[in-house]
């Protein structure tokens, strides 16, 4: 059978396309590398969620090669199989959106024209987007409605324009700590607001509302409140009868006809056998690194450097999220027992954020306005083993064991609560952050793995440290102790974008403004790969919104008359 549309991947970049095209009556086939886990398959088993490779490939079978600069300035390569550092995020129907924390901030208008607003930065490949915020706004709204975003719009100085007054779902229940932060912010004259979340606070269709399990990020949701691509969009698309999902199907090559069109997606099935599907239009949404890898692997006479890569831009300008994390503690012995009980309440969220410094206007910091970022305030994750592991180290870096270790653990788990802040600033695109095919390491099918260069720009650290100081001030004012932060050029692999940036010039971009490859007549990319700059928020909300935008374009173009 020849399908109307073949979609590679099923996460946030794919879900809107699957949903909209199926609903429009187009025959859609989805090739998902991971298994098809259903809601009833998820539990709060830390072993499955984080201690073993269940939702991600086994590194023995599939790894990455990461290239980082050491202190001496040398670029050193190491496979993740060798280092044990997992660079995967979630291979399953619904992709890593099943396991996200779902902080859903929109980008701001300035994010679409970073170069025009703030100018060039030496060593960074900053480019304006070919669309404006206004072009994406209706699709943020659509995502809020269909995926389900809860929260409360609170006006603040960098609040983005909205076509609706508020989020469709009211805010989730909060920990009393949120009011501590509110008080501290008022005293410091800082603006903070309730964080929007891609989590239902009320039921929607067959999805139940959040039941405050205390285990959200890294875990599949057992009520479908979390707006994963699977729960929010794919399940609905399946009801049309137009959508076919093929799980455990790893696409390794997109074949063209010699005239600039893709005709086949070649994939390995669960038995490792080579299969293919044919379609009229192809959409790739395998997450930024793997999307670039697939295009680079799809070489032929027509595209000797990889599909859509005669310009040499595929894999270039990968971006992650700049910034870092910080934390502080509330010691129960310092507060009333009743208050300690409230602070220690599991499940309910902190849900506070600040974008006061989304653009920094501070003469002491910079002569000109500078792009800043977002601070999200969160509680420490409840994962017990993950919480215990750092406790085996003394402050001087030596190993702690025996009764001293046990007492430290008992005290940490029962006599305090840690809260954290996460700082998101632009990861400036640069020549040292890109994806190519490794020429040594192969995966279990014998294909070259992605080699990811992780170079960062020093500017990111400067901005991150500015925000960290503000966040630390807020925590201290709120009464937390042992407040500290760490800003680095380290990479969070779950925050990846770029590699196939969109733009108007085929010489400098891979995709056009509709996310169609310049060089290929029927190839679209709808994950985060399109982003020339990433903004200063987590990416999932924008990936959803942009995928709805592209889906709208595709429906108009392909819908049967």
């Amino acid at each position: 059978m020849k399908y109307d549309v073949c979609i590679v991947g099923s996460g946030a970049g794919a879900g809107p396309v699957i949903h909209e095209l199926s609903k429009a009556g187009l025959k859609v086939v989805v090739l998902e590398k991971g298994p098809w886990l259903k809601t009833e398959d998820f539990s709060k088993d830390e072993m499955v969620a984080t201690r073993r490779s269940i939702y991600t490939p086994n590194l023995k079978d599939e790894c990455h090669v990461l290239v980082k600069q050491n202190k001496e300035g040398k670029w050193m390569r190491q496979s993740t199989y060798s280092s044990g550092r997992d660079f995967w995020n979630g291979s399953a129907v619904g992709g890593s959106s099943n396991f996200m924390s779902a902080y859903f901030h929109r980008l701001k208008p300035v994010d679409f024209r970073l170069k025009s607003e703030f100018g060039e930065i030496e060593g960074a490949n900053i480019a304006d987007w070919p669309i404006r915020y206004e072009d994406l706004e209706p699709f943020y709204t659509k995502t809020e409605e269909l995926v389900g975003v809860s929260g409360k719009v609170v006006p603040h100085k960098h609040q983005e324009p909205r076509s609706t007054k508020d989020f469709p779902y009211p805010p989730l229940a909060e920990n009393v700590f949120s009011t501590w932060l509110d008080g501290a912010a008022e005293r410091l004259n800082y603006e903070i607001f309730q964080s929007p979340r891609g989590i239902l606070s009320r039921p929607k269709d067959e999805r139940k509302s959040c039941y405050y399990s205390n285990y959200c990020g890294s875990y599949g949701c057992s009520s479908d409140a979390k707006g994963s691509s699977r729960a929010a969009l794919i399940n609905d698309a399946l009801k049309t009868g137009n959508c076919t999902i093929l799980p455990n199907s790893k696409v390794f090559h997109l074949e063209t006809d010699g005239n600039g069109s893709v005709v086949k997606a070649n994939f390995y099935d669960s038995e490792g056998n080579k299969q293919f599907v044919e379609a009229n239009t192809f959409v790739v949404a395998a997450q930024a690194v793997e999307t670039s890898r697939l295009l680079l692997m799809s070489k032929n006479d027509e595209f000797p450097n990889g599909l859509a890569n005669n310009s040499g831009n595929v894999g270039k300008n990968i971006v992650f999220s700049g910034g870092g994390v910080g934390s502080g503690q509330i010691l129960f012995e310092d507060i009333d027992p009743e208050e300690a009980e409230l602070i220690n309440a599991p499940g309910v969220f902190v849900n506070r954020a600040s974008q006061e410094w989304y653009v920094i206007n501070d003469d002491a910091f910079s002569d000109n306005p500078m792009k800043g970022g977002t601070i999200d305030f969160v509680s420490e994750h409840a994962n017990a083993v993950t919480k215990a592991i750092p406790l085996k180290w003394n402050d001087d870096g030596s190993l702690l064991f025996g009764s001293d270790l046990k007492e430290k653990m008992r005290s940490y788990f029962t006599e305090q609560r840690k809260f954290k802040f996460e700082i998101f600033v632009d990861w400036l695109p640069n020549d040292n952050c890109f994806v190519e095919l490794d020429d040594e390491v192969i995966d279990k099918w014998g294909d070259p793995v992605a080699k990811v260069w992780l170079g960062y720009h020093e500017h990111d650290l400067k901005v991150g440290e500015y925000l960290a100081e503000k966040a630390e001030n807020l925590f201290k004012e709120a009464g937390l102790v042992n407040v500290r932060s760490s800003i680095s050029g380290g990479v969070s692999p779950n925050l990846q974008a770029g590699g196939c940036r969109f733009g108007n010039d085929p010489k400098t971009s891979v995709l056009d403004k509709n996310c169609k490859a310049h060089e290929v007549s029927n190839l679209y990319v709808t994950d985060g790969s399109f982003m020339p700059t990433g903004g200063s928020v987590t990416y999932t909300f924008t990936i959803y919104a942009n995928a709805f935008r592209v889906a709208n374009h595709l429906v108009n173009k392909l819908k049967p008359s």
Binding site: S43, E46, A388, R410
Partner: protein
């Protein structure tokens, strides 16, 4: 007093009071003969002797000292056997554990002439302290501690943390739903749904 100091003092209070009131290392639960403890019929891929060394090492790293369960109470040694038998894990990493366990015991024999499991608790503590200061030893003992933490805190259906004693001690809420037997690792990897 600075808050951080207060917290550090607070968490040391229990151990300090033990030491002052009669020296923790002389308490009966710490001097119990570890060789008399539970011994599984099959210790593969460890020899019986390696298993005894492992038990003793875990007892030193995470002792049964009256402050919550020790490694023994949470079946940490059997948990390590389960890990070592797991063919999905990196075989090199599991071989590393076995090799370093032997190297650790060899250090004990070299330093104090006896297998680690035949030393008294004070000597065992000193050997672990010594080894933890070496590069290889620090990495190995760190790995051992992570395995103990897993045994202490993963779902009891995995055979450790019996009746959730680790969770109870640390007042940890493991969340719901708990995994069905068919959805435990590694069985969950064999799940399939009709397409």
């Amino acid at each position: 007093m600075q808050s951080e100091e207060k917290w550090l003092l607070s968490r040391k209070k229990f151990v300090t009071s033990l030491l002052l009131s009669g020296a923790a290392l002389q308490l009966p639960w710490l001097t119990a003969c570890q060789d008399k403890r539970y011994f599984p019929g099959d210790t593969t891929p460890l020899s019986n002797h390696q298993f005894r060394v492992l038990q003793s090492l875990q007892g030193t790293l995470f002792p049964s000292d009256g402050n919550g369960p020790g490694a023994y109470e949470v079946n940490a040694a059997s948990y390590v056997l389960w890990v070592l038998r797991d063919e999905l894990l990196d075989p090199d990493e599991n071989q590393y554990i076995i090799e370093k366990l032997d190297e650790f015991n060899a250090y004990s024999k070299d330093k104090l002439k006896y297998n680690f499991n035949d030393l008294n608790p004070r000597e065992q503590h000193a050997i672990v302290e010594d080894v933890s200061k070496t590069k290889w030893g620090e990495r190995f003992l760190s790995r051992m501690l992570t395995l103990i933490f897993e045994a202490l805190l993963v779902d009891p259906q995995y055979g450790s943390n019996p009746d959730g004693i680790g969770w109870s001690w640390l007042e940890h809420d493991p969340g719901n739903p708990r995994p069905k037997e068919s959805h435990l690792y590694p069985t969950i990897l064999t799940l399939s749904h009709e397409v």
